[in-house]
């Protein structure tokens, strides 16, 4: 689309949008003077505008704040936490990320789970996670992972 054409669409869109819905069709028809492509373009934009409602009205960081956090999948690979050297990402879910790590004191492999940041912002969920971890660590069975 040339910039003149874009400008034309733009201006016409504004004038049509300012009118009450019942007047729009007649006004647009007259303003286009037989330019069918122009009429269709403006008509389709007006229709989109009417359907758009709340689209992009709330800022992105309100809609998907998760995307601004540190929860990047695999971000911990290569890092060390206490005596654990994190080697690779095993799994990702809504409840966090699980990494394969090496316990450098005991020389064994362990799975480390990291909660999503949205959980750590909430004390209730954080304490629930802690009691789950305590419950799991009290169990000792070959088929249950030790915590």
């Amino acid at each position: 689309m040339t910039s003149e054409r874009w400008q034309q669409v733009n201006e016409l869109f504004q004038s049509v949008a300012e009118r009450v819905p019942e007047e729009r069709t007649t006004y647009l028809e007259a303003a286009c003077q037989g330019d069918e492509a122009l009429r269709r373009e403006v008509e389709s934009l007006i229709a989109s505008y009417e359907r758009a409602e709340n689209f992009i009205e709330s800022p992105a960081f309100e809609v998907v704040p998760e995307l601004l956090t540190n929860d990047r999948a695999g971000a911990m690979v290569g890092e060390s936490i206490a005596h654990y050297q994190i080697e690779s990402l095993i799994g990702v879910g809504g409840m966090g990320q699980v990494y394969l790590a090496r316990d450098q004191r005991l020389g064994r492999k362990v799975a480390l789970k990291f909660l999503p940041e949205r959980f750590t912002a909430n004390k209730g969920q954080l304490s629930r996670f802690k009691s789950e971890a305590r419950a799991a660590s009290a169990l000792n069975h070959p088929n249950i992972i030790t915590v």
Binding site: L45, V64, E66, L68, G94, E117
Partner: protein, 192 residues
Amino acid sequence: MSPFLPFHDTRLLADWSGGDNSALERLIPLVQPELHRLAHHYMSREAIGHTLQTTALLNEAYLHLVDDPKRSWQNRTHFVAAAAQLMRRIMVDHARERRALKRGGGAVKVELDDAALVTERRSEELLALDEALEKLAMLDPRKTQIVELRYFGGLTVEETAEFLQLSQRMVEREWMMAKAWLYRALSEANDI
């Protein structure tokens, strides 16, 4: 609030406004703490019925910079624009990573609960919007900038108008058409 990290080199901003995109990349670690604060605010219960003023947050960060006599940071305009653009970049990069992980996967197992599925859908929408904005920028850079400032930077119509030295009426008009155009672009791509 946590203090905004001082810029090691204020020339980064000058470089960025001079068209050097890697300068923007180097700004990321410097503004990230503030952005995390913003993200946590919206993810916690505090956010209900209480809106954190993004502009206030950016203003504090900016004042922190200009208060430092060693810095020659004079241009608030560039700062706000850079912040909005950075937020767009960071969010889009994260959304891309999520998509790559879901599609490529490799040995990684991805499990999604309801909350994660919602995030998934919204981050896909964000990517589609980003692509549409790229196209809009070729037709009308000013509309794209208005969307960037408002949608990614969180500025109000009044703030955007002041910032771009336009009337509020003009910002509203530009916003209307940008919104219609982008909504159509996304509907065509995804049949929403």
